[in-house]
Amino acid sequence: MTSARDWLRTDRLPHIYCTGCGNGTVINCTLAAISGMGWERDETVFVSGIGCSSRAPGYIQTDSLHTTHGRALAFATGVKLAKPDLNVVVFTGDGDLAAIGGNHFIHACRRNVDMTVVCMNNQIYGMTGGQGSPTTPMGAQSTTTPYGSAEAAFDLAELAVAAGANYVARWTAYHVKELTKAIATGLQTPGLSFIEVMTQCPTNYGRRNKQRRVSDMIEHMRTHALLIEKKRRLESEGTPIPEGMFTVGELVRRARPAMGVRR
Amino acid sequence: MRREVRFSGFGGQGIILSVVTLGRAAALYDGKYAVQTQVYGPEARGGASMAQVIIDDAPILFPEVTDPDIFVIMSQQGFEKYGVHASKDAIMLVDSGLVHSRPDCRACEIPATAEAKATLGREIVANIVMLGALVASTGVVSRDAIEKAVLDSVPKGTEELNRKALMRGFELGEEACKL
C-alpha cells in the first residue's frame, strides 16, 4: 500500500499555498484516503478548474488535467466516460464550482458520473485576492463586498443532494479524521461523490473578517460545525439552532443509477 | 440535362420523403446525379413544406434550384408560396382535390389524395401516387428506379400498398398529362 507522501510530485514542491492555508490539509486527507483504497497512481486522474484549490493536481504524481475556470466537472465527465477504468478525482473551490461552474456542478450530480469531487470551500476567491463568492456569508467582508455581502450564500452540499449525487458529506479542515473517512466513503461509492470541506483562507478571508489568526479560523470552524444528526434532533425537538452554525457529516448515501462505473 | 424539381404541400404529406426518394432513384438506381435540398425552420412546421431536387446526367456543380422545370404541388398554401411564380415553360402536377388555383404553365391535375383514400384506402400514400404521376409524365427518372427507391424507403409491411400507389400514379400521370 502507498502512503499519501508517495502520491506527491516532489519536484513541484514547495507549493504556492499561503502560510496557514487549509488546502494542504485537504490534499493530505484526500491522498490518505486514496492510499487506503489501494488505487494505483497509473490508473488515477486528478482534474481541476481554476483557483487555489485547483492547483492541487499539479502537486500529485499522476496524470492530471488542470483546466479552465468552472469547467473541471465537464472535462472530468469526458475523461471518465471515455475511459471508465480510470479513477477520477476532482479538486475544486467554491468560486470555481458554484459560480462559473454552477451549471456543470448540478448536471454532473444529476448524471451521477462515477467520480469523487472534493470542494475546498474557503468562502472567498482566494487566488484573485479576496472577492466575494457564492458562499461568502451574508454580511461578510471581501474586496467586492466592502459594505458586507448582501447576498445569501449557497449551501453546496445541499445543492449536490438536491441535484442527485449518490454521496454527499461536509466536513472542515479541522475535522481531518472525519474528512479522510468521508472521502474514502466517497471514493468507494459508485456515482458522483461530493465532499465539501470548509477550509480557512487566513490571507483573504480571515484577515477581513475578524479572524486574524489561523487559530481563530480553526476555532471558528470547530465551534460552528453542527453534526447533521444533532441538527436533525434539535429540529425535531423544536429547539432553535444558533445563528452561524453549519452542518457537518454525511448528508446522503444512496444508489441512484450512475454513469461511467468501471465495467 | 439538368432538371429542377420542386415539391410543396403541408406537413405530414411526406413532401420531403418524396423528394429524397426521387433523388435516391436518380442517384442510386438510374446512374444519374442528384442534389436534394429542403426548407428548414419554423416556417416549415405547420405551414407550407417544400423540398427540391436537381437531377442531371452530369455532375451537378451549382447546387441550388433557381427556376424549377417541374412542380408537384399538394396544398393551396404550397401553391401560393412555392408554385405561383412557376415559369411559363414549366410543368406543374397539382393534387386537384387540394389545390384550387391553377398556374400559367402547363398543369396536370392528379386527384392523388382522393385516389389514395378511395382506391387504396390510405390517404397517407397520396405522395407516392404523386411520385408515380410525376415519373410517368416527365420521365425525370425511370419507372424502374422510382419503384426500387420507393420500396427501399417505405416502412416494412407497407411495400405492397406503396407499390400499388405508385402504379396508380403512373396511370394517373399518363392520363392527366396526355403524353
Partner: protein
C-alpha cells in the same frame, strides 16, 4: 466493399468521423448541425464509443478534451452561437496540444442570426476567436462526399499536429443530400507517441511533442497555464512563454505546405476566383458554362493554415475575385499576400451567389 448512398451532408460528416475511429462525441444540439449529433447518438454506442449530451457547448467541448486525453479520437459538432461558447476551451486545447475535431455547420450571424440559413461568417473566429496568439487548422468541404472525406481527414490532421481542427462547413452542404461513396476504410494517422524518457511537452524539430494518453503511466500534468517541457506551470518567465507560444504557432504554420489541399483551374488566367466551401461550386458552374481559359479558379480545401503559395500558381493574375458568404473575411487574408487587387464579393442571407451574379462581377473587373 464500399457502398453508395444518397445521404445528407451532416450524416456524411458523422459517417466520416465513425470511419476515422471517432469514439467520443460530446453534444449540445444546435441548428443546423444537429443531425450530426443525432446520427452519432444512434451509431456511436454500437461502435463501442461514448455519446454524451452535455449541459451546454462549454461542457461539450470540455468533455471532448477530457476524452481526447484518454487517447480517444473525440469530436463535437456545432454552429455559430455554440462555437462562440467553445472559444475559451478551444484556446485551452491549443495550449495543451489536445487533438480534437469540431465540425461547425455555419449559419447566419452575428448572434442567433439565421439558424436555418448558410453562412461562412466564422472563418476568422476559428483562427483568431480565442484569446492569445494561436494557430489552428480549418478545412472546408463543398459536397456531401467531402463532408465524409474531410471529416475523416480532420482527425488525421488533429492527431498529426496535436491541434484542434475545424471542419468549417455550412447549412448548404450540411443539409443537402447527394450521392456518396463510403469506402471500406479510411487512411488514419496516429498521434506521435511519447518516447521513453522524453518529457511530455518537449518537441522535436517539427515542434510536435509525443502524446501519452492518461492511464499509461506517464503521469502527464496538463495545464492551460504557460508550462515548461515537463508540463509544469511557469507563468512569469518571459522566455518560457515566448518559446511555447512560438512553437505552438509554428508547428502549424510551418507545416502549411505539407497539409496544403487545393485545386487550381486555368493557371494562366488573368482573372482568378479564390473560393472555399460551397461558393466554389458556383465558380465551377461558371467556368463549366463559359469554357474560358482567361478565368481561373483556386479552390481551397485547407483554409488555415493559409497556403499563400497557392496564389503564386496564377503567374499572370491581374485580379483575384473572392465570393464568400460573409463580408469578405478570407479576402483580407488573400490581400495580405498579393500585389494585385482583391475584390471581395460578399453574399449574406443564406443563398449562394448565382453564376450570373459572379459573371457580372467578373465582367466589371476584366
Amino acid at each position: 466493399m464500399s457502398r453508395i448512398e444518397f445521404m445528407q451532408g451532416n450524416t456524411a460528416s458523422a459517417e466520416g468521423a465513425l470511419a476515422a475511429g471517432c469514439r467520443f462525441f460530446g453534444c449540445y444540439p444546435i441548428t443546423p448541425s444537429t443531425e450530426i449529433a443525432e446520427h452519432m447518438a444512434r451509431k456511436l454506442p454500437k461502435a463501442g464509443g461514448t455519446f454524451i449530451p452535455m449541459e451546454d457547448e462549454i461542457g461539450s467541448i470540455a468533455s471532448v478534451i477530457g476524452a481526447a486525453w484518454t487517447g480517444a479520437r473525440a469530436m463535437t459538432a456545432t454552429s455559430g452561437p455554440g462555437f462562440s461558447l467553445m472559444m475559451e476551451n478551444l484556446g485551452y486545447a491549443v495550449m495543451t496540444e489536445t487533438p480534437l475535431v469540431v465540425v461547425n455547420i455555419q449559419r447566419g450571424g452575428p448572434s442567433t442570426g439565421q439558424p436555418t440559413r448558410a453562412a461562412q461568417g466564422d472563418m476568422m473566429q476559428c483562427r483568431f476567436g480565442s484569446h492569445g496568439d494561436m494557430a489552428t487548422i480549418a478545412i472546408t468541404p463543398n459536397s456531401v462526399q467531402e463532408m465524409f472525406d474531410l471529416t475523416a481527414k480532420a482527425f488525421n490532421l488533429a492527431d498529426r499536429y496535436r491541434v484542434p481542427t475545424f471542419v468549417m462547413s455550412d447549412e448548404i452542404i450540411g443539409h443537402m443530400r447527394e450521392r456518396i461513396v463510403i469506402p471500406d476504410s479510411v487512411e488514419t494517422v496516429s498521434r506521435p507517441p511519447l518516447a521513453e524518457g522524453e518529457l511530455p511537452f518537449a518537441a522535436g524539430d517539427d515542434g510536435i511533442p509525443g502524446f501519452a494518453p492518461f492511464g499509461t503511466g506517464r503521469h502527464v500534468h496538463v495545464t492551460g497555464l504557460t508550462h515548461d517541457e515537463r508540463g509544469y506551470p511557469d507563468t512569469t518567465d518571459a522566455e518560457a512563454h515566448d518559446a511555447l507560444v512560438r512553437r505552438l504557432y509554428r508547428k502549424v504554420e510551418s507545416a502549411r505546405r505539407e497539409m496544403a489541399d487545393y485545386e487550381v483551374t486555368n493557371p494562366d488566367a488573368e482573372s482568378v476566383f479564390v473560393t472555399y466551401g460551397p461558393p466554389s461550386r458556383t465558380v465551377q458552374q461558371l467556368l463549366h458554362d463559359r469554357q474560358d481559359e482567361g478565368v481561373g479558379h483556386l479552390r481551397l480545401r485547407v483554409v488555415w493554415p493559409f497556403p499563400e503559395f497557392a496564389l503564386q500558381e496564377f503567374a499572370d493574375a491581374k485580379v483575384f475575385l473572392m465570393p464568400e458568404l460573409n463580408m469578405g473575411q478570407m479576402a483580407r487574408e488573400v490581400e495580405r499576400h498579393v500585389d494585385q487587387p482583391v475584390i471581395p464579393i460578399p453574399k449574406l442571407g443564406g443563398e449562394l451567389h448565382t453564376p450570373a451574379e459572379l459573371a457580372s462581377v467578373l465582367e466589371a473587373h476584366r
